[in-house]
Symmetry: C2
Subunit: 432 residues, 2 copies
């Protein structure tokens, strides 16, 4: 393809849901994008696995190839967009184009969360940049504001809903009182959850995003496997109802904060006060709270997934690279080479909600309180519900070190009067 | 002052609440800012009106001068920050430094909203840039995400709470059932409202911010005087109570949207559904909803004012300019020279809430409904409250052209059975 100086030639690696959205927007918003980027955008070559594949937007077949070298080795391409997902072969392709000094834009959260250090170093060595606004929060401008607008501030805490599938499931459970299984099946029917929902519901997806946000916020290289995670599979309609009575909503939150010398980083179902802005984020939306030392509380909200929102974020990165070829983002990301240190979950302090199914007899509460006291766990509220076989104690602790709480749980399980501990959910006040 | 190549010399014009915050952060976060900007930041000269003045953070007296030429003509200064507020002399100082090719960062919303075109042209002519992230939404990253991350998208609508003072007053009225006067006086005691609160409560401040957002979103030069405005002074505790019963919160919203060939731009008290994210923004926070054609709904939330949040936004702009001196923001803002066209408020379509105090007698509703019908206003809900002298009709219309609604109001006032029309508030569904 002839290369005009006024054109920006793009090589697209992977063309499924998001890739076809990128193709669609480049065609539809050609004038606006050219104005923003300073050059006409041309989607020169598209690497695909299958030429024929269902895509939400039609894509020009003549640009497609299944031969990687036709795209990766094309001298005329100015910038690459990687949308294949997964690690292999995305990582080797990414390293190859960065090594050739070509800028790379990617939405691949797993790639950044597992191989961020390698990629940042490859970009720096190649004298080029890698950008990944779309990897966290889909269409929400988040990475760049954190890197640039908050460049002079110190982030103290991040707390966010970064997975739309689980937020949809929890929203439906809350609105309709239905079970996790029923809400998930509904989400699958609507296309909000995949046939194999494991990565979403078990919090693996959110953990990857958390690792990326931690790296940027705390200026070190964090990886997904450093992020403690619990999925939403065990959250019950009773938990959601109890939470509401206590003034909370149940959300899958990704939480990271500076804590002494280290950083705590975790994703788990969390009770958040009903008047906190995160409690009102419903459906498949994402929202990320960022607390800066000087700037105070910020929140970024929007579509965390979807073809066009994600494609918009990708094109924002392309525009920025086109406009600011000298931008030394790579240099500024040298911190990624310093391994991030995460505090073990056993040392993290938080509050806990828990439910104990107990024998309905006098003196039970005293025994339970005794176990908590022996483990230095102090209780904020205790409510006894039901009678006879369904007698339950619903309680919330004050802030306690995880190790002590787990030790108390172990002690409770050994009590004859405690029949079962169906629920344990962490509680955030969000502003402490 | 000796000028090292590794230093960024800053000239500060004005040093009150925000300026002293800038001084404080440059000292406190010196290492982080140097890392982000690529150069050590040095606050070289500070122009003040009075050397002695109460400031929230202490400022080094030796850098201060009351002589403008000592700062404006200093060849060693690389970048200026303007925090004087108002038009005179801020405008002439701004034009002077831009004319000398020096980048300018300002938090002065009035300056941009009234003289944006002149300033953008001066920056382009001087081959430099003007940045104003802090002028709207204080510490919230908003201008840059709209300009850059959404560079390839088309903004369809903006709807936001851009004035913290009025949001605080409305939040207190709503929480405590108190009057506007009482809530305002409380805000003044807490320092959330100024002794002369006119600019805030009459929506002038919000109108300036709306003009800036319109310019960026709709790519033309809009000025504050083009923005229709109504303040919050007439909002009563009854309105807030009625709104809640109908499922709404009352907020001072700045709203702009593409509407046919033009743009509608307005700031007024607005009823917004309780489940809309804007309804849950309380206290003196700001939140701006941006609806993009491709990206969908985004919301940006944070501290809209205050010394350190605003100073953080200013330093984010300084960092960006230092890192990307070649950034062609000025070129991209050539659209500011094209005058923005605003649709007259009479032609804007919206829904209305209104309250009529009426004579309590059979047939009244028929007469009122007749007037609405004659003016092509259709009603969504009608509730009759009270009896005898306090009989009231509370109603919400379907979407109607303002002109027709005003004509209906005129007709209603002429009816003998209508004693008074105490309230008219526009209603947004937010997602239509």
């Amino acid at each position: 393809m002839a290369h005009s100086a006024g054109q920006l030639h793009i090589g697209l690696l992977g063309c499924g849901t998001i890739g076809s959205g990128v193709f669609h927007l480049i065609r539809k918003n050609a004038a606006g994008l050219a104005d923003a980027a300073g050059r006409e955008m041309v989607l020169a070559r598209i690497l695909v696995k299958e030429l024929e594949e269902p895509r939400p937007f039609p894509v020009d077949r003549t640009r497609m190839t299944t031969d990687q070298s036709e795209v990766l080795d094309d001298e005329e391409i100015d910038i690459y967009i990687e949308l294949m997902g997964g690690i292999d072969p995305a990582l080797s392709y990414a390293l190859k184009v960065l090594g050739r000094g070509k800028p790379l834009v990617t939405a691949n959260k797993e790639l950044i969360a597992r191989h961020g250090r390698e990629l940042m170093e490859a970009a720096a060595a190649g004298g080029t940049v890698i950008r990944f606004e779309a990897a966290v929060g889909g269409g929400i401008p988040l990475i760049r504001p954190m890197e640039e607008s908050l460049g002079g501030d110190n982030v103290e805490k991040i707390m966010g809903i970064v997975n739309g599938t689980t937020n949809y499931v929890l929203t439906r459970m809350s609105a309709e009182g239905i079970t996790y299984e029923k809400a998930l099946s509904e989400a699958q029917k609507l296309g909000y959850a995949e046939a194999d929902p494991t990565a979403d519901v078990s919090a693996g997806d959110a953990a990857s995003k958390m690792a990326i946000l931690c790296s940027i916020a705390f200026k070190a290289g964090f990886t997904a496997d450093q992020v403690y995670r619990e999925g939403i599979q065990k959250v019950s309609p009773d938990d959601i109802e109890n939470a509401r009575e206590l003034g909370y909503a149940v959300k899958l939150l990704a939480i990271a904060e500076r804590d002494g010398g280290g950083v705590s980083a975790r994703v788990h179902p969390t009770m958040v006060p009903l008047d906190h802005p995160l409690a009102s984020i419903t459906g498949n939306f994402n929202a990320i709270f960022v607390m800066g030392e000087s700037v105070g509380d910020l929140m970024f909200y929007g579509q965390g997934a979807g073809s066009l929102p994600t494609a918009t974020a990708i094109l924002g990165d392309v525009v920025d690279i086109s406009r600011n070829p000298g931008k030394q983002a790579a240099a500024r990301r040298s911190y990624w080479s310093k391994p991030g240190e995460v505090k073990p979950i056993e040392d993290v302090e938080t509050r806990f909600y828990t439910v104990l199914r107990v024998v309905d007899r006098p003196g039970v509460l005293a025994k339970i309180a005794g176990v908590f006291g022996d483990n230095s766990v102090s209780l904020e509220s205790v409510v006894q519900k039901g009678i006879g076989d369904s007698a339950q104690i619903v309680l919330i602790t004050h802030k306690v070190v995880e190790r002590n709480f787990q030790s108390a749980l172990k002690g409770l399980k050994e009590l004859e009067v405690v029949l079962e501990i169906p629920s344990v959910i962490r509680v955030e006040s969000g502003r402490e």
